[in-house]
Symmetry: C2
DNA sequence: CGGCGCATGTAACTTGTTACATGATTCC
DNA sequence: GGAATCATGTAACAAGTTACATGCGCCG
């Protein structure tokens, strides 16, 4: 079983979902720390179902279009719990922006400045989405849910994005100064 | 050409290196934002050499053991510059700790607490390494180098790790409170 | 002279992305 | 009726990891 499988089990543990809905949740709510493509989700759903970890929910009248909804089985819940108790192994980062920054003395500060501006805009947007998500979760009165854990995850995203934004601001100042110095000396 | 190729071109742009040395640099200096395995580096070196982007440095007397040292060629430098000017496309994260945190209401707070403690220790260590790296770079008087850029990258790592540490502290407090509440209600 | 660390390399495998094909439904 | 969106799926490819094989040189 791969990471994708456990991500699916986790989401289905909250409520039954279709592959398409899972993809949407990952793209929006998990965006700052996770990603999946359809090419992973659909094959994973099939294999999880064949292993008895999840099962298709029989279509009732309200079923929309060709949608296939899955729910977790007791075996799936056990597998999820087991995974949750195992130590975290994989932490994958690959921040191209930092690689480019590291080597950027090869090109004009101008180029890097453009990258940084795009980076800043993306993370400002992400922080905005997280702030709204936070308010949404806090607005739900319902207890006995996993709100505490979700809020902890959102908080991590906010902290990371604030760190990125502060770093962008300072780095943009640095690059602008460098650019002006280069202009003076020419 | 893949990301790995440009990472190698970037490093060889600073000084000639062997595959093994490249791996060591990535593991230590780039650890908080990048990773590569030998299985990527060696094939990449071979293909870059066959494309004329890099070339083997003729072995002189001081050459150590079976070491093969490569240096960048003018064609390689051009390719590197071109890549540096292209917009950043890929930003890959996969933070398993956050996925587990999100779904952790399925298991005892105790389990998550162990994960968080390991996480905190790892990032404390990483921050320590970055602080030392920063001092090392600042200690070199030599100008006309890429120190400014390197320090900007280190600064990003420090900010991210400080964010992780603050988040761990708060999250550990949260989990301990949850654990104590569970104990009282039993 | 045995073990460790340096050093290179590959094959098999796992994982993940991309591009495409298909078709239903909703909305204008 | 045409466009956009919802929805599922697959095949080909690209990327990345792991485990292994090999051998040199240094140190005790």
């Amino acid at each position: 079983m791969r990471q994708t499988d456990f991500m699916i089990l986790g989401l289905l543990g909250e409520s039954p979902l279709s592959g398409y809905q899972i993809k949407k949740i990952v793209d929006i709510r998990f965006r700052f720390f996770w990603s999946e493509s359809f090419g992973q989700i659909f094959p994973a759903l099939r294999s999880l179902a064949s292993e008895g970890m999840i099962e298709e929910v029989p279509a009732d009248g309200a079923q929309k279009r060709g949608r296939k909804t899955y729910r977790i089985t007791p075996a799936g819940t056990e597998a999820l719990k087991h995974w949750l108790m195992q130590p975290v192994e994989k932490e994958t980062y690959r921040l191209e922006i930092l690689l480019k920054m590291y080597f950027s003395n090869y090109v004009e500060p101008e180029a890097m400045l453009n990258h940084m501006q795009a980076f800043q805009a993306a993370h400002r947007q992400q922080l905005y989405i997280l702030d709204r998500f936070q308010k949404e979760v806090e607005g739900i009165i319902d207890r006995d849910e996993n709100h505490g854990e979700v809020l902890r995850v959102i908080d991590c995203g906010q902290k990371l994005n604030r760190a990125y934004l502060e770093w962008s601001r300072e780095t943009i100042v640095y690059l602008e100064r460098k650019k002006n110095n280069a202009a003076k000396n020419s």
